[in-house]
Amino acid sequence: MPSFLFWLFAVLMLAGGVAVVAFRNPVSSAMSVVASFVGLAALFVGLSAFFVGIIQILVYTGAVMVLFLFIIMLLDLKDEQKRAPKLAPVAAGFALVIAFVIQLVGVLAKMPATTAPKLDQAALASAAGGFNEGGKIATALTAGRLPDVQLIGHTLFTQYNLPLQILGVLLLVATVGVVVLSKKHAD
């Protein structure tokens, strides 16, 4: 990904994040999260993780954030009332974040800068040997394309089958839990 696009979407994402924290109205915050996640999805795509980028949009911005907005509307929340800001907690929060960022920069400063390995035709074609010849993946790889979705599916249903099943059960449990929680007590 060209640096220009990277920085564009990175700034979009970070600005969205800052806006989430800064906006007083939860609806504005939620919209900022959407903006931030769009930037994030673009970064995913830039990292050739097309599938993850797409479900980031679909699941997060599409489902989760809509759910958030729905709840905000449901609860009919007012703006956060202006209160005399307590200086000590705010200062402590900022100090913590700044300490974290300093540490982050400190760590990254020691790391050598690595650039992404190229995913050109030669590289992809050489990876095709590990897959069924004549299969979709192998064909795509030989053709110099990255069959991202197929690779994800392949990994998921070969190496991660059991966790996938468990994940399904988890989602079921969550669904049941949500129903139980939301139910008004009939007593």
């Binding site: 907690p89 402590a92 929060g93 913590l96 300490a99 974290f100 540490q103 400190g106 760590v107």
Partner: protein, 597 residues
């Protein structure tokens, strides 16, 4: 030797079984009495045996404390006294305490006492003596306070115990001094090295004597013994007349035998003899004005103990032991007799409310008369006469002034015993209690009869008990006549005075407040010594307790816990952001320590 161990531990086992297994079972009195009888039999079997045995009880470095048994003529003879009177007292108690609700406790206490007393008598070393010395103190405390519901009994028990503790402190110091001088605690191995100064030895002897002052109730620690009469009368007979109070004399004599009689020459012996003499004089004077029959006997006991101590102090330990031996029987007899009287008169103890009891209770009356005769030393027929003669002889040989005191005390003894007998047993009943009195049952009068026989005969029974009977020195033949004369004169004068003053009287004709109020010694102790001492001590203890124990230790710990808890309570603010902040801080710190540190 195994018999000796059985003799020592049987009463303890019985006490433990009584207390822990049988508890309120009606068998308890019989078990205790049976064990007393068994120990009496064993004591007879052990007569004449000699030897020492023991085991190391605690070893500290190269020093070890022994539990050991010494058998010699002294200890086996003393065991006859202890177990013999003990058995009779047990039997008497079966009748006397028949209606008592807590007789299990009472008999358990008696068994415990028998164990402790046996321990003192058989002990082969000072450490063991001291242990059992304290044990008799405890059992005496338990038995005096048997009727603890009565304040006076509870107070008397405390008084006895605390007063004894004062003497025991000196005793302990004395034991340590003896140890430092001789390097051993075993009676059989003591020898005083040449290099030790006379003052050191004197100090050691006098400190040990402190123990005897406490236990044998010598001036100035005599105050507990009259009060100890709050206990059941058989207890008074066994513990506070015949055996435990004699332990001091026994122990002094043990020391005298172990260290040699010559260490009692000089200051130590003089102090002991004078304290004995003063005790016997003061106690006899106080006895002349007591109305409570048991108190008369209690002061009489004090007085006779004073005799014995005086004899030991004068180097005539054998005479003292001999008197101890005879006195034990007839004083036990007198106490049990008074117990029978008290029992018959529905727990009336004032002699001025008795009277005419000789006709109502002939057996008790005559045995009491025999006991009295022995105590006042009727010549030639009673055992008390012979032992008293020995003491008078010892005093005559060493110190004429003390001899004078002893003769005067003999006169007083005759006087107050005549008074007690005349008032209580002759004349007319002065109270409906004594009017309706009748003879006690066989469980109570059989021991009286046996003791009466011993009161007369014990002086001749000393064949196997050689240590009890001094080898008679025919050194002062002309002194012998003087002693005999003085003794008989004091007897006659005492009888005459007693009869003249009290015959046919219904009220106390003479009142001497000084004697009646025991020279005000108890009052002085209570009002000055105890109060001030107690107050100062209490203030110190209170201060210590409040500041250190309560303030720093207990309170400090709890306050520290509360403070820490409050500190940590702050952390539990309930604020979500607070928790998140703490969590983030933790993460930052983890990063810091893993990556940067």
């Amino acid at each position: 030797m195994n018999l000796a161990w059985i003799l020592l531990f049987l009463p303890l086992v019985v006490a433990a079984v009584n207390q822990l297994v049988l508890r309120k079972n009606p068998l308890v009195p019989w078990v205790s009495t049976g064990s007393a009888l068994a120990t009496l039999v064993i004591s007879f079997l052990l007569l004449g045996k000699e030897g020492t045995t023991g085991f190391n009880w605690a070893t500290i470095g190269d020093f070890s404390l022994q539990i050991g048994i010494t058998l010699d003529s002294l200890s086996t003879g003393m065991m006859i006294v202890v177990t013999g009177i003990g058995t009779l007292v047990h039997v008497f108690s079966l009748g006397y305490m028949a209606d008592d609700e807590a007789k299990s406790r009472y008999f358990t206490g008696l068994s415990l006492f028998m164990f402790s007393m046996t321990g003192i008598v058989l002990s082969s070393n000072f450490a063991m003596t001291f242990i059992f010395w304290e044990l008799v103190g405890v059992s005496s405390y338990l038995l005096i306070g048997h009727w603890y519901q009565k304040d006076s009994a509870a107070d008397a028990a405390k008084k006895a115990f605390i007063t004894n503790r004062i003497g025991d402190f000196g005793f302990m110091v004395g034991i340590l001094l003896v140890w430092s001088i001789t390097g051993t605690l075993a009676f059989g191995e003591m020898a005083i090295p040449e290099t030790v100064s006379q003052g050191m030895i004197t100090a050691a002897i006098l400190c040990i004597f402190c123990g005897a002052v406490g236990k044998s109730a010598q001036v100035p620690l005599h105050v507990w013994l009259p009060d100890a009469m709050e206990g059941p009368t058989p207890v008074s007979a066994l513990i506070h007349a015949a055996t435990m109070v004699a332990a001091g004399v026994y122990m002094l004599f043990r020391v005298q035998v172990s260290l040699g009689a010559d260490v009692f020459d000089g200051t130590a012996g003089n102090v002991i003899a004078w304290i004995g003499g003063i005790t016997s004089l003061m106690a006899a004077l106080m006895a002349t004005q007591q109305d409570d029959i048991k108190r008369v006997l209690a002061y009489s006991t004090l007085s006779q103990l004073g005799y014995m101590v005086m004899a030991v102090g004068l180097g005539g330990g054998e005479a003292g032991m001999f008197h101890l031996f005879t006195h034990a029987w007839f004083k036990a007899l007198l106490f049990l007799g008074s117990g029978a009287v008290i029992h018959a008169c529905h727990h009336e103890q004032d002699i001025w409310k008795m009277g005419g009891l000789l006709r109502k209770m002939p057996i008790t009356g005559f045995t009491f008369l025999i006991g009295t005769a022995a105590l006042i030393a009727v010549p030639f027929v009673t055992s008390g006469f012979y032992s008293k003669e020995e003491i008078l002889a010892a005093a005559f040989g060493k110190n004429k002034f003390l001899f004078g005191i002893a003769v005067f005390v003999a006169f007083l003894t005759t006087f107050y015993m005549t008074r007690a007998f005349v008032v209580a047993f002759l004349g007319k009943p002065r109270d409906h209690g004594s009017e309706h009195a009748h003879e006690v049952g066989p469980l109570m009068f059989v021991p009286l009869v046996i003791l009466a026989a011993m009161a007369i005969g014990s002086a001749w029974l000393t064949g196997p008990l050689s240590a009890m009977r001094p080898v008679h020195e025919h050194g002062h033949a002309e002194g012998h006549a003087i002693i005999l004369g003085a003794s008989i004169a004091s007897l006659v004068l005492g009888l005459l005075a007693g009869f003249a003053l009290y015959k046919g009287k219904d009220k106390n004709p003479v009142s001497i407040p000084l004697f009646r109020n025991r020279f005000y010694i108890d009052a002085i102790y209570d009002n000055y010594l105890v109060r001030y001492f107690q107050n100062v001590l209490a203030a110190i203890v209170h201060f210590f307790d409040e500041l250190f124990i309560n303030g720093l230790m207990v309170g400090g710990l709890s306050r520290a816990a509360a403070t820490t808890g409050n500190l940590f309570r702050r952390v539990q603010s309930g604020s979500l952001q607070g928790y998140a902040f703490a969590f983030g801080l933790g993460v930052v710190l983890v990063i810091y320590f893993t990556v940067f540190h």
